[in-house]
Structure formats: C-alpha cells, structure tokens
Symmetry: C2
Subunit: 245 residues, 2 copies
C-alpha cells in the first residue's frame, strides 16, 4: 500500500517508472507428457528465443485480467473451457530485464485438451513444447517455469487441481495420468481410485456414462470435477525417503 503518511517523501518515492507485466506458465498434459505453451520472441533482446507468453498491464485492468487477455492475444487461446489461472509469485529483481525496471506477476495456467495455439498477437509463433525440451528461455523465464512446475506438483497433493488438466468429463485413468505425468512416478491404480473416490468433493460420477480409452479394454466410467477446492485427506505423493522435491 502507498504510504500516504510520507509528508515530504511522498513524491520522491511514488512515481518511479515501474513497468508491470504478467507472465504465464501455461501447462497441459498431452499424450501422457507435460507440455508448456511458449512463444518465440521476434524482437531484441533474446530474439528467436522461446519465452513465456505475457505482456504489459493496461491502465485499468488487474493482473488476472491482463493474464487472460495476453493469453488470448498471443496464443489465440481465448475463453478456454476449464482454464485454471492462479498467481504464482511476483518477480521484481532489478536487472531481470536488461533494458528497464520491470516487475512481473507470474501465473500458472492449467488447461485440458491442449488446443493448438495460434501464434498471433505480438508473438512470432506459439507452440506447445514437451516440458524439459524447451532449452534456455528468455529473461528469467527458466526460473519462473521451474517454480510453476514445483508449485503445481506440490498442489496436486492437497488441492483439486488435477481436474483442471482434464476435459469436463474424464475417466479416473485420465486423472491418474495427470498425477503420474506431473510427479513423474507411477501410482497403483486400485489405490488411486479408492483415494480419489474417498475424498469428498474431488470428483462426482456422471450417471450411466462410460467411454472407451485406448481402443481396447473395458469402458471407463466418467466423472466430473467436484465442488471441493481442497483435498481432505490429501493425496500425498509416494515418499522418496525423508525429503521431497
């Protein structure tokens, strides 16, 4: 908050020229692999490098609004059903942009379906890249992306985030694949199923509906995301002795 109680110092402090931007770590699960939505820079600095989509706040919009707008402008992903947008943290180190002072509010955005991006707006092109194959990103976006991955992995344990990676109706196998993909570990199917169903408000069955997955095997029952946002009890990831990621 502004310290109005700054008798003489007020003007000295208040109007330093800060540029405020948003950056988005947009993640989806596609073909059993985690993918990130990246845009190719067409301008200096970092020309030709991959970067997270994002851009400047307009005078009368919040960071959340700016994030949705930039996502639509730069990648064509507008009004995606089930887009889950959440603040990650704000990056404000001086020098993170070589040209000027930029404070950036970073978001994680989770999507089902991975629609192909349009690469429009300010970005030269936009593409889904498998997480880990993106090389070195522009600015401090490597760190932002890593922070986003850590956060999402941790939040799968105690929040009903995983459904944001799934279409409106999904099978428990698909939900399990989200966990296995983000965590990079295999889970026991019978136990996963029981835990999910025992967690109130996580998923709710779609009566009578079933879908064939993978072409073979028994059709799987379909579920919708429930109303709960927190998971009780949490769905803890398998213990790698003593210490987690």
């Amino acid at each position: 908050m502004p310290r109005q109680d700054r008798p003489a110092g007020y003007d000295r402090h208040a109007y330093e020229p800060f540029a405020v931007t948003v950056d988005l770590a947009v993640l989806t699960v596609r073909d059993g692999a985690l993918h990130v939505l990246l845009v190719e820079r067409g301008q200096e600095p970092y020309t030709g490098r991959w970067a997270l989509p994002g851009g400047f706040l307009l005078p009368r919009e919040s960071a959340e609004t700016a994030a949705r707008r930039e996502l639509a402008e730069e990648t064509g992903l507008a009004d995606v059903a089930g887009l889950h947008l959440e603040q990650l943290r704000t990056y404000s180190e001086p020098g993170r942009d070589p040209r000027m002072r930029v404070v950036s509010v970073a978001f994680t955005a989770l999507l089902p379906n991975a629609p192909e991006p349009r690469g429009g707006g300010d970005a030269a092109q936009a593409r889904w890249l498998p997480y880990g194959t993106q090389g070195t990103l522009a600015f401090d976006h490597d760190r932002i992306l890593a922070d986003a991955h850590d956060r999402v992995g941790a939040q799968l344990e105690y929040r009903s985030l995983a459904t944001a990676f799934c279409p409106p109706e999904f099978t428990l196998g698909e939900l399990q694949q989200v966990y296995e993909t983000v965590w990079g570990t295999a889970l026991d199917r019978p136990n996963f199923r029981r835990k999910v169903l025992a967690t109130e408000g996580f998923v709710e069955p779609v009566p009578g509906a079933a879908r064939l997955t993978g072409g073979r095997g028994k059709p799987a029952a379909l579920y919708r995301a429930g109303t709960a946002t927190a998971l009780h009890p949490p769905l803890l990831r398998p213990s790698r002795e003593g210490r987690p990621a």
Copy 2:
C-alpha cells in the same frame, strides 16, 4: 515479462505510470495469542486507520529488499533474528487505492519474541494488536491480512514454518502453542511431541539444555529449528468436519 515484440504498441503499453509497493502482514505469537503488527496512518486517505506496514519500492531494490527496509523504517524492527519473510501474493485490482494505480506485492513475515515496535519512519505509530481486534483496516488490507492468516495456517501443515514463531531455542510446548494459536484448536501433547520428533529435520535437540516454563512444572528440553523446510510426513490439522482428528 515485457513483450518487446510490440512493434508499434510498445510505447503505448510500457510506461503506464504504475506505482509498486510492498505490504507486510507481520505475525507473532505472544501470550498464547496471535498478534499482528499494524501502523496508524497519519495522512489521507484513511487517516487514523490502522494499516499494514509497507511502502514504495525504490528504483534499484527488489520487493523482498523493500519489505525488509520498510519493516525497519516504519516499525524499528531491523535485523530481527529469525525473521521469516515470504511472498503472499500481489494485489493489482484497479481502484484498490483511491488516488492512483498501485500494484502491491504482499508478504507474510513471521517473528519470534514480539519486540516492541518503534513506530518511527513514516508511520504515526506502530503496535502489536491481537489478531481479530484490529477492526477495519485501510485500503484492502483486511483481505490481505485474512489471506495471510489462511496461508500461514495451511502452511503449518506441511512446512516447518512454526519454528519461525519461536526463539532460537524453544520447548516443544512453545512449538505446540504456535500450532494451537494459529489453528485455534487444542492438540494432544503426547501425540504432537511424537509427530514433531518423527518428522526428520523439523527440530533438533539442544543437548543437555532445559528451561522452566510457566514458573512451575518439570523443566522442558530445548530444541532448535532443523534444516528441513518441508514436513514429511505433514502435520495435518484436526478434523474439519467428518474426518477424525
């Protein structure tokens, strides 16, 4: 990140006059009650109202640096041993400040000992108030404070945050009081003790040391904060509804 790839639009977007501030939700446990550090505003708007300490970013400092500086300037709490500072989230809604566009990076700060604040700097006065008795704060600080409380309560479950409320050497009874105070629930002492000691890296014993607490009773063994930042297994809070504690 700035979209430099904004051929004509760059100047239109980049230099909107955003003021960037930090706000701090500084919490401590004192006499078995959670307290918040607040400053009284001496200027319009919200003159005389309590507000979270905070202020503008200087041109060459990060939000984290600004947070420490403002804490020292406005409350005299400089270089407090064991200060735990962590980003909460960023508040950017237009209109959250009646005079101009202000984007604020909010932090939670946890302290042991509750040293008396000096009320200097820009603030008319600074005081610890018991959480819940602070009335309506200036700006959107009510919401920031509520978000901070929620976050801290949740993080006590799976992070070793609680030690940040304790002095360098503390008893398990003091640590338990932190949990009970923040969560507002009583915990079973024998079980609490076993869980804490079973969680690797949470606390480590100070050999031979003991301290009398409350004037009576058996002197309690002393512990130091361990090296772990995450808690495995987590120390889940008792039953919200339906789930046995």
